[in-house]
């Protein structure tokens, strides 16, 4: 039984409860009137719902999650996005903000131009719009804070390490901004000043981490910014290795603690 306080560890095949009053959630299955665990992890109980959360697993998307993903395929009217989920996610042409105003109608021209907006290899931040019946995710970037990611570096950790928070976009005090994707993809980039954020761009563009393609030429991360980013990256990897849940405070603490070491270490 899931008890408060002491965590209840189970492994596949372990009986969680013989009481059928519970609903089976993730990581459980029913057999002979008993509820059994199918993964190894900690039993979690929400009212009458019992789930087992494994230590590590592929990203299980939920509506409203912030994710960072990479375009892997350009199709007729949509992009396939790799989000470390068990199936590739989909970003439809209709769920992005097109250049030249948020509310422009999509034309056939846009379909032709699809590769100009986002092409293979590009990184985006997005929100999960919907979980499809087969378990794949539909994404959207219809907000100024989502979109193509530019200057920065990507760190991948296990999705279970990223805490679901209200805000996944952080401007850290140390001088870098962070997108903690729920899917375990973490984007670290230099902070962009507010006036840059308001800049109207030719492409649909994000505000927090982004800069326009024009601006990449003008704005080059300074060496200090780079050092910070590199340090943050190594901190996050260190945190992930010791399996510490990631959110803005832990990252900030780790960063502060690491200051006495050189970045390389």
């Amino acid at each position: 039984m899931a008890l408060k306080g002491e965590p209840h560890y189970v492994a596949p095949g372990d009986v969680i409860t013989a009481n059928l009053g519970f609903m089976r959630g993730h990581g459980t299955y029913e057999s002979d009137g008993k509820l059994l665990a199918s993964v190894a992890g900690v039993v979690e109980r929400v009212n009458r719902l019992l789930c087992v959360h494994p230590l590590k697993s592929k990203y299980n998307g939920e509506i409203g999650d912030v994710v960072v993903g990479r375009i892997i395929e350009v199709q007729q009217k949509r992009w396939k996005v790799e989000t470390s989920s068990r199936l590739d996610s989909v970003l439809n042409l209709s769920s992005i903000n097109l250049p030249g105003g948020v509310l422009r109608r999509r034309s056939a021209e846009d379909e032709v131009m699809i590769r100009d907006y986002l092409k293979e290899g590009d990184l985006i931040s997005a929100e999960v719009q919907q979980v499809n019946s087969d378990g794949s995710l539909s994404l959207h970037t219809r907000s100024l804070k989502y979109g193509k990611l530019t200057e920065g570096t990507l760190v991948t950790v296990s999705p279970s390490l990223v805490k679901r928070c209200k805000n996944h976009f952080h401007n850290l005090l140390c001088g870098a901004s962070l997108i903690l994707g729920n899917n375990g993809y973490i984007w670290i980039s230099p902070i962009i000043l507010d006036d840059h954020q308001q800049e109207q761009m030719r492409f649909q563009l994000p505000s927090t981490p982004g800069s326009s393609s024009v601006k990449t030429v003008t704005h080059v991360a300074t060496i200090e910014e780079r050092e910070t980013i590199a340090r943050l990256r190594n901190c996050i990897l260190a945190l992930a290795q010791s399996r510490i849940l990631l959110y803005d405070t832990t990252v900030q603490y780790a960063y502060d603690a690491s200051l006495k070491y050189e970045v390389k270490e």
Binding site: R70, I72, E120, G121, D122, L123, K148, L149, T150, E151, G152, T153, L154, T216, V220, A221, I223, R226, E227, I229, A230, R231, R233, N234, E262, V263, K264
Partner: protein, 281 residues
């Protein structure tokens, strides 16, 4: 090598990082990542070693067997390389798809070993023209994330240093020669690996060569120079891979850098070999 697509912005970020001498993991262009080399891992081989460099993980097993020498070199032993890019490292290598990469890596190694005279192959001869030791060096790529050739050469060097070849006595004369293997398993010789070079790969990013590129950096570098370096800093082999080209000056800088790095890497191998022998997994 294993392709990894990056966005244009990531590439430019990495390029500028190299320019500023601050790479995305905080290293400078000349910094080598730390690696861990352990030898004597697999007990039913003549010698073995495992290397871990960040996420690259390679296991090398050496087996000495008696076989026929190459007719062109009847009084020398043979050394054969085989690299298995196993599916463990990436589903991309499943079935036979890792074979091409594996064969290429093995070819590079044998090219390096054959042409730098780093191992005294004549000492591996038993009866000239008839029998010799064949040293099978089999590498298994368990995890793959950049710097695979460098790691491979380090692990091979480590494994060879760890290799024990049983002592033999040849009985009889002329046609009727017979070989007798010593019963005592401790009665063995080892291979002198002092001269064995390692590969140092330099990747050209932007206009600069960097050492020990990470997986991401490899993906955005135009070309690599892989340089075989021995303990004296001599250059034992050079090969340029990839499409790009570079200036004369860059080349000279790269080679001198490689020679410097190579010497320090070899020092480290010798150190680990001496301090921690036979540690089991």
């Amino acid at each position: 090598m294993a392709d990894r697509i990056l966005s244009d912005f990531e590439i430019s970020y990495i390029k500028q990082g190299v320019l500023a001498d601050m790479r995305s993991d905080g290293r400078s262009c000349r910094d080598y990542r730390s690696f861990e080399l352990r030898s004597g891992i697999v007990s039913n081989t003549s010698g073995s070693a495992e290397i871990k460099l960040e996420r690259t993980n390679i296991l090398v097993g050496v087996k000495a067997e008696i076989g026929q020498p190459n007719p062109l070199n009847p009084n020398k032993g043979r050394i054969e390389f085989f690299v298995d890019c196993s599916a463990l490292a990436s589903p991309k290598f499943e079935g036979r798809r890792g074979e091409d990469l594996g064969r290429n890596l093995a070819h590079r190694l044998s090219d390096l070993y054959e042409n730098s005279n780093c191992i005294d192959l004549e000492s591996l001869s038993i009866i000239p023209g008839q029998d010799c030791w064949i040293i099978y060096v089999d590498a298994l790529v368990l995890e793959y994330s950049g710097g695979v050739l460098d790691c491979l050469s380090i692990a091979v060097k480590g494994a060879l240093a760890n290799t024990k070849i049983p002592k033999l006595t040849v009985i009889g004369e002329g046609e009727e020669q017979e070989i007798e293997i010593s019963d005592n398993p401790f009665d063995s010789t080892s291979i002198d690996t002092n001269n064995v070079p390692v590969f140092v790969s330099l990747s050209l990013i932007g206009n600069q060569f960097i050492v020990d590129a990470s997986h991401e950096e490899e993906a955005c570098s135009l070309c690599q120079l892989s340089v075989g370096v021995n303990h004296k800093g001599s250059i034992c082999s050079i090969l340029k891979e990839g499409a790009g080209s570079f200036k004369h000056r860059q080349y000279n800088e790269a080679i001198s850098l490689a020679s410097e790095i190579g010497v320090s890497v070899i020092e480290k191998i010798t150190l680990t070999n001496n301090t921690a022998p036979e540690k089991m997994l």
